[in-house]
Symmetry: C2
Subunit: 463 residues, 2 copies
């Protein structure tokens, strides 16, 4: 066993404690009440990066939540990598469904439970552990490294784009590394070559000017709750297809070689559906579960509210009913192009007697790269060293809004090497990260920096 691997093994427990300290900070970027917590988390991460030997660790103010930046440029002549991660987390609600409080991390049965355990503090701290190991064991990293950790990934990454554009000249690099994706199974390391984009909207249906007595007025005016039902029902057909005109126009057909790749994947569909607890798989007719969540776009209600939701019965005809509705997009769909079509369709579906407002909360382009890109080959080698199986090449259903920005602003290849599992309850109560994934991931990214140090020049030239 080499010194690097031994160091990683010997410091496992302390790496967990370091991660727990970060998880205790409720850095919920979408909720204004947590603004100070978000900032505190940025400072915590910057201080940690400084402590392990990164230089210039700074908390950069933005129009929104701050960006953490740090670098280590002590390997002149070697390639430069940018590590991207995020320290913000999803809202923890509904709180009553958590077995233990979301911001009091605890290990049960080999799993670390907390909001952000895997998304993304856990995966970020794999890198922090790997960087520490290289710097302690060798006094140097195998590559030059810039670390960018944002605080708005869960609410649109608006400020990061400005940060990247402003610093474009200073951020010279050869490759970008991101660990915010998943593995096909607990012992199946994976590399993601595509992500879905997103368009996240809010629909507000207004009927009467104020709540009405449903006995006195019921039947006389359109009910915005019923009207919202009509709109939501009309957005997808019985075959699970989105009805927005032109929605599928830019969806790429899957080339034969990718179809073959998909077919060869050890994707456990039954296990995937079992992890949801849903009675059956259901989705767009004509596609497999893997395809429905990766190569096909979709539309989901993320939340709805209106009228009386308390105990018992209140006989009210509500003034207003609302829903959050998001679409996952695939190459080459563009949220800027789809939003006005979506808005028009919502208004067209609205029954008479209500006014409808549609808000565009945020959007992100989908991302795709060649599965056999040289950058991904370095990642394959690293994973093959750290695990007992060669990695699978997969598409990911989620979105990392910044990937398209990185591609556009910096024009660099991106390695998506993540270690989440389908049952990690990401964005849901009882989020967890398996300790085997965390430790295997830490080892994998430590090896990745070695592989990149040896061969990344070839990568950036090949692009």
């Amino acid at each position: 066993m080499d010194a690097l691997t031994r160091y990683l093994d010997e410091h496992r427990d302390r790496f967990i404690e370091d991660l727990k300290a970060a998880l205790r900070i409720p850095s919920v970027s979408a909720q204004p009440a947590h603004r100070d917590d978000v900032r505190r988390c940025a400072e915590h991460v910057a201080a940690h990066l400084r402590a392990i030997g990164m230089t210039r660790a700074e908390v950069v103010a933005t129009a929104g939540h701050p960006v953490v930046y740090a670098e280590w440029l002590g390997a002149p002549g070697r390639p430069t990598a940018i590590l991207y991660g995020h320290y913000d987390v999803q809202p923890p609600e509904p709180l009553e469904l958590w077995t233990t409080p979301p911001f009091e991390p605890v290990v049960r049965d080999g799993k670390l439970f907390a909001r952000g355990a895997v998304d993304n503090k856990g995966q970020l701290y794999m890198h922090i552990g790997a960087i520490e190991a290289h710097l302690k064991v060798n006094g140097a990293l195998p590559v030059n490294l810039r670390v960018i950790v944002e605080g708005e990934e869960e609410c649109g990454s608006d400020s990061l784009e400005t940060f990247l554009r402003q610093r474009r000249e200073q951020l010279s690099a050869d490759v970008i590394v991101i660990s915010d994706t998943g593995m096909l199974g607990p012992d199946q390391p994976s590399i993601s070559y595509a992500l879905r984009g997103i368009l996240y909207t809010e629909i507000h249906v207004q009927g009467p000017a104020h709540d009405l007595h449903s006995g006195e007025f019921g039947g006389a005016v359109q009910n915005p709750g019923n009207a919202l039902g009509v709109i939501l029902a009309g957005l997808k057909d019985a075959d699970g297809r989105v009805t927005v005109p032109g929605f599928y126009d830019r969806v790429r057909a899957i080339p034969p070689e990718e179809k073959a790749l998909i077919k060869s994947l050890p994707f456990d569909e039954a296990g995937f559906i079992r992890a949801t607890g849903a009675p059956v798989a259901w989705g767009e007719r004509g596609y497999s579960t893997y395809e429905r969540t990766t190569v096909r776009p979709t539309l989901d209600v993320n939340g709805l509210w209106g009228g009386y939701a308390g105990p018992g019965s209140k006989t009210v005809l509500p003034a207003r009913a609302s829903a959050k509705v998001s679409m996952r997009l695939v190459p080459d769909q563009d949220p800027a192009e789809i939003f006005p079509r979506f808005e028009a369709q919502v208004k067209k579906l609205a029954p008479p007697g209500v006014t409808v407002e549609v808000k565009n909360l945020h959007g992100a382009l989908p991302f795709i790269t060649e599965p056999d890109h040289p950058a991904l080959q370095a990642a394959r080698r690293a994973l093959a060293r750290a695990w007992t199986k060669p990695p699978a090449l997969i598409r990911e259903g989620g979105s990392i809004p910044v990937c398209a920005t990185f591609q556009e602003v910096l024009g660099l290849p991106i390695i998506l090497m993540g270690f989440g599992l389908h049952d990690d309850n990401v964005h849901a109560p009882n989020e967890k990260f398996n300790l085997t994934s965390f430790h295997g991931g830490t080892k994998s990214v430590a090896y990745l920096y070695e592989e990149l140090g040896a061969g990344v020049k070839a990568v950036s030239h090949a692009r």
Copy 2:
């Protein structure tokens, strides 16, 4: 001016203060947190009835909220009336839409604002003022009187039915008087000869066992939010008709003489719709606004919830989505007969991939009596004395669940003489009662007791 009328005029301001004291008690029967407030309100009303000279004023414990009972039987040989009212109120939410707090009554611009201002504390206190006036001026009431004030009108009146059945023998009477309905306009007194019934349900749609990440899983499983939309959309057709099979089977056709009566009503449709603030009238095709809210049944969403409803975007695929849905029923629809049909229709409408639970929260039969019933003629005479116009005979869109119970258990005629207005914001924020309605109503019911004392024997025999 007779002594009774003078007493009523001289004590106007104090009657308002008495009402305000009752309005300050947040007797929200549907919310368990207010259980003690509900009991406190019962005790407050009982003490007040005792103070003005009613005998046997008692707070009667039930399986739910208590019933207040009081009587004055000092006119042997005279007829006996039962006054029914309720001291409980609707939940005040959404609180942020109230101009002043719901349980801090205040007079602005000739109107008293508070939850319960009109429904029903305000209308109950008209009677309390009238009873006080008779007892102070004449030392007696013109009729024997039993007062029954319940605390569960806004949540199903379950306990009152038990109370009535247990005391059926002791509750001998000739007529029932209820002021919990409205007038066609501020200077148009009205008598209601019909009420709609109600069936109030809750629909729970369960998809996955727990919230999921909408990127990772979006497209693979049915979304309960989308599914709830499909269900709600399917419950009514584009003509505003309820799709539940057999729903209209027992709806009575309107006889020609009632059609003529309806046609003659000074119903201000434009003003009625204006009071809602809705952009246009909308409802079942082929019927007028008055008909849609009185002689026709309807179906309304009272509330819906599920997933994330906080600020910003949470990319969650929710485990569960729910709605409260109620139907207003007309003679001879029966909620007990309609519930299983509704439940079956909801389950039939549910798309694949979810499980659906439908709960029956409560039901009440519709109520109707002959518009020219002798009991209603006594009420007409009283209103003609108190107002400048003769009363209109109307149907009411709301429900007073206990009316059917009174008809069934006690077999007595019911006078529905109420003074609410369409813009009173009943069951909504900023509920109010015009002081002119309150004072005119107090005078009207004082005269009603006189008219009943003179002629109610004819009434009960005529039935």
